[in-house]
Symmetry: C2
Subunit: 345 residues, 2 copies
Amino acid sequence: MIRRGLVDDSIGLKYGAGGRAMRALIERVCLAGIGAAPVDGIGLAAMDDGAAIRVGDQWLVITTDSHVVHPLEFPGGDIGRLAISGTVNDLAVMGATEPLALTCAVILEEGFSRASLEQVYVSIRRACEEAGTTIVTGDTKVMGRGEIDGLVLNTTGVALCKRVIPDAGLEPGDLLIVTGTIGDHGMAIMAARHKLALEGDLRSDVAPINGLIRVALAAGGLDLVAMKDPTRGGVSSALHEMAEKGGVGIIVDEMQVPVRQQVRAACDLLGIDPLAVANEGKALIGVRPDAADRVLTALRRHPLGAEAAVIGRCIDQHAGAVMLDTGFGRRMLAEPEGELLPRIC
Amino acid sequence: MIRRGLVDDSIGLKYGAGGRAMRALIERVCLAGIGAAPVDGIGLAAMDDGAAIRVGDQWLVITTDSHVVHPLEFPGGDIGRLAISGTVNDLAVMGATEPLALTCAVILEEGFSRASLEQVYVSIRRACEEAGTTIVTGDTKVMGRGEIDGLVLNTTGVALCKRVIPDAGLEPGDLLIVTGTIGDHGMAIMAARHKLALEGDLRSDVAPINGLIRVALAAGGLDLVAMKDPTRGGVSSALHEMAEKGGVGIIVDEMQVPVRQQVRAACDLLGIDPLAVANEGKALIGVRPDAADRVLTALRRHPLGAEAAVIGRCIDQHAGAVMLDTGFGRRMLAEPEGELLPRIC
């Protein structure tokens, strides 16, 4: 494991932003405190999108996320849709595309409007319907005025599957597919937050993609070897993690990365690399080279995968590094410290 | 189902306090929004301590809780111990005393001290060891200064079991056992919060009690018919819920309710009924009358059950009501609107 930096004495915003700083915090504080407790399967030490526990001849996959997005509503979605999609997608990229059930715990600020809360629950229901799952249990807490900013959700999901797809499964020669355009979620939040008068329509891609992943798994079979959803820290952060865990180098072909025109324009204006911007309805899929065409074809037939593309390949040098082939040359892509904005999800 | 009051347009503190108001919020907003989605087992509509889903010939029990206790450390425990105990105990009172795994999601305020966070994780580890379980996955978010008060945890637990014990299983004639003294947690928090100079040592009872429940289940077998942990809203709130769901009346013999001397003194001083004060290491167990002695004997042999007592019985009148036999007469015990203090757990 690559040795990360120390953790500051005081936890700053970057430690919750999905990148290098957050991973250091988890390794040095959370894991160090809890200890490497044994579990028959994939546990916390794997730092994957979730855990997997042996139950008979199946795997029970479990994942949890708190959602602190600000604002609660944004173009393309809201915190309810985000919570359900985030949890369903974390299960899906572990190979568990049929969520058995979700839990939903809500923390409210005193004085929060009942009407807004009702709207969040309607949004939760719709996203559950899209994903083919349901909330089976929950929890409700209220904190005083000024003790929490509005509303925070936690969702946990469980699913059974026969085969777990780790994020660590890449080998030299494997190809990397992204299931669609990148940067849509992060730029939509940024525009909503700062009321940026950006040209065009910036909309979050937030959606449950377990149906899309199911199609990829059916097409790829055992040749689909690694998956991850590029949320906080974007494609760059996710690829760095996959490269490090798989012990490979990854070369990204920048010209092949699908980016919507309006996202590209906003990123250019603000000097941001779309590769470092969060997504909430996309997956990175690692496949053996022979399987790339059939997985890509299957993805593109699905409404959520029409713009899927092969964007990179794995090499046996520079283990843990991600390099960008710009069309004019190659340069190392630094791992983001974290997401550019706090409270993106 | 008894028709509860309407929910205010603005969510006040009482809606997170575990009593009548919170149940109204869950029924009228959360459940109404999500809809009665079908699940093969016990789902959200049952409003039990968790949900249970059929998996082969077993039940997968799942429960979730957010923890917002203030202060983070208090006599007898801290938020880490509270989170693990609360989740393990919710599983245990459903009959699932062998937790497969827990998840732990943390939300931090920018500037939170690393040393305090490390202490919370040590406490989490110790409580997991006591309960015989482990954290398998987590999530980390950071909110800005003033956007959240310090630290909030969410824990979700999963367990497999052969038989689910509902909180709705009471019938006329059944007896109710409490596994030990009541009111310890709530009064310890109150004293810590308000720096009350109360006589004696007020300490929270926070502990994982899955080992204790295991002993009760082994002794009671099929004659152990209902369980609930009396957390927010105390024994009173839990008994009201059990009475309503079981369609029975419950008579509580006040003289038999175990209350520590210092808790009794503090309650008297403040004019609080210990029956309405939160517990974090106790269970209410409903048994067929013939089984009461053997369950009680088994509980009392366990270090956490030494003060277990039969405190009530179920009758076929006054369905949903709880009556207090004071030794001088009977009176109706009103269901608390909620816990007396916010952020008790």
